[in-house]
Symmetry: C2
Subunit: 137 residues, 2 copies
């Protein structure tokens, strides 16, 4: 056991402001504020009200981006993130995770079908001999 209980709380905690987080995570400042508005991202505030983020915020933002990219809505992401954060382990949360995993699986399958279909079109486009055959399937 080498200090598993307390995640590096002795570090100087280098923080950054919203602009740096934006450039480092590759999203806009506006998007970050939007994420906070949706409850997906929290920030410490300085006395003057400026947001300050720890390093791990970069990773979190990228995770959020991944989930957005997978077609999840902010509401759904909001429901999933607690599972990530605290390892919430209710039956509902696990069902939720499984459901979204399944959704993503199906989405991948659909995309593969689409790609195959596009490949057929490309094949025709590069060899226009037998066009009729694969269009009507």
């Amino acid at each position: 056991m080498v200090g598993v209980t307390m995640p590096q709380s002795t570090m100087p905690e280098t923080t950054m402001r919203i602009g740096e987080l934006a450039t480092r995570s590759g999203v806009s400042v506006r998007a970050l504020r939007y994420y906070e508005e949706q409850g997906l991202l929290t920030a410490e505030r300085s006395d003057s009200g400026q947001r300050h983020y720890p390093e791990r915020a970069v990773d979190r933002v990228q995770l959020i981006q991944m989930l957005y990219g997978a077609g999840l809505s902010s509401r759904t992401i909001l429901e999933l993130l607690p599972c990530v954060d605290a390892g919430v382990n209710t039956p509902e949360s696990r069902a939720r995770l499984a459901a979204e995993r399944k959704r993503i699986d199906e989405q991948i399958a659909g995309l593969i079908r689409t790609r195959d279909r596009l490949d057929a079109v490309i094949a025709v486009s590069e060899n226009p001999a037998n066009g009729c055959t694969l269009i009507h399937d």
Copy 2:
């Protein structure tokens, strides 16, 4: 050679109206009219102005749906469909097809990464022992 040149032009050409096409292709009537508005779908018109579609429209609508599902915009789909229809074979059209195929490929790769990430979360959620390790990548 068994009549490859003329696609079955002697058939009675069973047609359907918009409602049937909608139910059979699984989209709304509104969506079909929208597709037509975007130039993705054409229809014969009866004297009274009602749309009539041939059987193959079902397939075409499903293709359109696939492409929408792959995240393509109607403008992009509009640019791709001529390649399907007429086998248009310009360098540009082939480049276009290849580009969209690549986009879909990347999208699939991204989704797989997301799924893997979600799998990691799920693993934690079902065995909360070693939580900290995989969250920060």
